[in-house]
């Protein structure tokens, strides 16, 4: 990546001199121009992701660190460019449409150059872009949630910012509409070559919407990478758990292999001594006991979902989650052999509590 469009370096935010940092030493870059990318910050509520976004937008003063957009320092030591001079667009979670203005007036609000006829024409263009040109005389409160969302997007895009910030923009839409809108917005941003930073607590949304994502916990970034990278090679226990359910194995490693409760397992990298490793449910499979000689387990529960089946398997007092395709049919109580399909991922020791048990992680709690 050449010169990034947005560069956040060592960003720290405290509310009050003695307060603990809400955002702590956060650094990431977002590419622009031909390599414009969509970047997501994923984390549970209260982790500081929205505060990070508000520091980039200029609504909050950064305590330390710098925010640079297109080579211009927006926030840094003794620098704070007010939000109206940053040229950064933002879409809020509740859209923040102006209730006293029509849809067209809302979209034209940020257009301040040219004659009013030119402004109107540009606002119409933006509305057309999101497919709402027939609604221009309505008031925003008379639109559906999805339509309001698109007006908000049109309003943000109309002044043609190089970077837009999206603060949980899909969370107020119902599930069906959410996925569809997400794809439309992604397509629109890609077509226009606009860089975006999305903040969300929904792992599925971050994985499917972003080109790269950062997982944030208690004000710090645990891991930054592509969705595949972060999902399949989580660096910490937190990342492994937050992106979906996984199986943990407390193991004795030596080199690229380890002794685990599920027998000898390959590792994704070299390690020595006691380590915690993670195996996603789809990287485990079960087989009839007579076909392989691996550790044996008993089916405790199963959930048939049509295209695949999820089994809960008990093995030496621990329970493991296994996703298989719908050809492996077993009933509760059956004895099966457990088999890893991929190397297990070694999790960082320093951020792992000492007393993590082996077995499947609990359902991530709804933030």
């Amino acid at each position: 990546m050449s010169e990034p469009l947005l560069s956040v370096q060592h960003l720290t935010k405290r509310f009050g001199p003695d307060a603990p940092p809400v955002v702590h030493d956060v650094s990431f870059d977002v590419g622009g121009g031909p390599s414009a990318e969509i970047f997501a910050v994923l984390g549970p509520s209260g982790c500081g992701k929205t505060t990070t976004l508000r520091c980039i937008a200029g609504f909050e003063h950064a305590t330390e660190g710098t925010v640079v957009v297109q080579g211009r320092t927006m926030a840094g030591p003794d620098v704070h460019v007010p939000p109206e001079q940053r040229g950064v667009g933002i879409v809020f979670q509740d859209y923040a449409l102006f209730p006293h203005l029509t849809v067209l007036e809302n979209v034209a609000f940020g257009l301040r150059e040219g004659t009013s006829a030119e402004q109107t024409a540009r606002a119409r263009e933006a509305l057309e872009m999101v497919g709402l040109d027939s609604f221009e005389e309505r008031r925003p409160q008379h639109l559906s949630g999805g339509q309001q969302q698109r007006v908000a997007l049109a309003r943000t895009l109309a002044p043609e910012p190089d970077l837009i910030l999206l603060d949980e923009p899909f969370s107020n839409l119902d599930a069906l509409l959410r996925e569809e809108t997400r794809q439309e917005v992604r397509q629109l941003l890609k077509d226009k070559g606009i860089s975006a930073v999305l903040v969300t607590h929904d792992q599925e949304e971050a994985l499917s919407f972003a080109d790269r994502l950062a997982v944030m916990r208690s004000g710090q970034l645990d891991q930054v990478g592509t969705p595949e990278d972060v999902y399949y090679r989580p660096r910490t226990l937190f990342v492994a758990q937050f992106l979906g359910r996984t199986n943990l194995l407390l193991s004795q490693a030596s080199g690229r292999e380890a002794d685990t409760p599920l027998g000898r397992v390959r590792l994704d990298r070299e390690a020595d001594g006691t380590v915690l490793v993670s195996l996603r449910p789809e990287h485990l499979t079960i087989a009839a006991p007579e076909t392989v000689d691996g550790p044996m387990g008993t089916i405790v529960d199963r959930a048939f979902k049509g295209h695949d089946i999820t089994y809960l398997v008990s093995c030496e007092n621990n329970e493991y989650l296994v996703h298989t395709d719908n050809r492996e049919l077993y009933e509760a109580g059956d004895t099966v052999a457990l088999q890893p399909l991929e190397p297990a991922v070694v999790l960082e020791r320093k951020s792992t509590p000492a007393d993590v048990p082996s077995g499947v992680t609990p359902e991530p709690s709804e933030p």
Binding site: P83, E84, A96
Partner: protein, 533 residues
Amino acid sequence: MTVTRAVDILRTRWYVTVPVAFVLAGVLVPLGYLFVRALQADPQTLWDLVVRWRNLRLLGNTIGLAIGVLGVTTLIAFPLAWLTTRTDLPGRGVLTLLGVLPLAVPGYVMAYVLLATTGTYGTLAQTLGLVWPRLSGYSGALLALSLCTYPYLFLNLRTALLGVDPALEESARALGYSRWQVFWRVVLPQLRPGFLAGGLLVGLHVLGDFGVVSLMRFETFSYALYLQYAASYDRIYAACLALMLLALTVAVLFLEARLLRGLLLHRTGSGTARRSVPLQLRAGRWIGYAFGGGVALLSVGLPVGTVGYWMADRVASGLPWASLGSSLWASVSASVPAAGLAALLATPIAYLGVRYQSRWTQTIERVAYLGYATPPLAFALALIVFTLGVVPFGYQTLGLLVTAYALHFMAEAIGPIRSALYQAPPNLEEAARSLGRSPMGAFASVTFPLMRRGLLVSVAFVFLSAMKELPITFLLAPVGFETLALNTWSYAEEAMFGEAAPYALTIMFFSACFVGLLLIREQTATGQRTEAA
């Protein structure tokens, strides 16, 4: 987190700093100055002034009146609130309206009405030949104040009764309690916050009242203060009286806060959509009608009838158009700028309070409310002492009167502006900022249009309140400045009931507008709540 930001804004934006400073100084400095002046007297004199039997009697009278009014208003308001919310009495809507209307009758008009009804020359004697002893003293003040303040309690109790979740009562019934036991053990405890809120308003009203006690010649702190001022004007003693009255007010505020502690948490936020099953009154409805009708007759019928009677009497001998016109103009010329100033001052205070809620901004708002709770006579006296001592050229000017009105009634302006600001969430302004507007530009293009309605309501409230204001006008009006309220009061004071009638009628008209506005606002608020739910 918001403390520092509120301070930041106060430091950097003059258009917030100046009004806030003006309000804080305007309310606190005169009161502080009064305190300092009183302390300047030598200790012996001060001791003699404060520790004397007369003061104890004044204290007893004031508290006795407050308790009496609280008792009578409860006896009126509670059954009325219950009848209009919990029974199937036909005509509950009309009864509710009749229960609110007495707010259109200022205390001094009610006192005037009672005086003009009773006695040898009263309406009763002239029309029915019924000579009822002239009401005065404790009983007169008690009746007048009760009749015009019970709506405060009535409205609060009504809201509280409507707010009780019927599911709670139904659960209690299912657990084996009778209807009466449920009322006693489930409903009544939940009415306490509403009762305290209404009771506080009634109490503050009694403490601050000047018109009624002066017309009924009942010696409370306010009346003694007035006598001091009107007759001898012993400045130190007047200051002491004002301070004692102020101390009493603060004590009441503390008592209310103490009693309320922990109660507000239990209150249901918005009114429940479901109403509890109304009690069928059957034959009992005639008792209900008799009670409601009696109250309405006394508190609404009597003032309208009496003022109408004397007005007719007056029309026969020719209306004083010139004087009526000039006093109307006087009232308007002080009330209009006061309303504008109050809204101007209230806007940044409400804005800070809504957007940067913190202990700081709460303190600022409390000071604004203190200006409202301070007995007007004491507040006006403090302003006089302060003006004479520090800015003598300001004494007896229209500017001082307007400022006093604005500072005193600003609390009425804060409420509507606050609720309007809640319609304009902060991220609207942030959205405007990110689309290129400066802080002031974002406010002007987004927040202001959304709060315009609330602002208009505020202006109207303060205007109508100032139109009927008496004690502050009495002390601060420039020489020869005769407002509608002053004329009503001074004619009534001299038992010239016919002369007082046209002024009283005009006042009642403006007060009725005030009540109408209040009711419309209540209704839109309820409407918005149900819509939101």
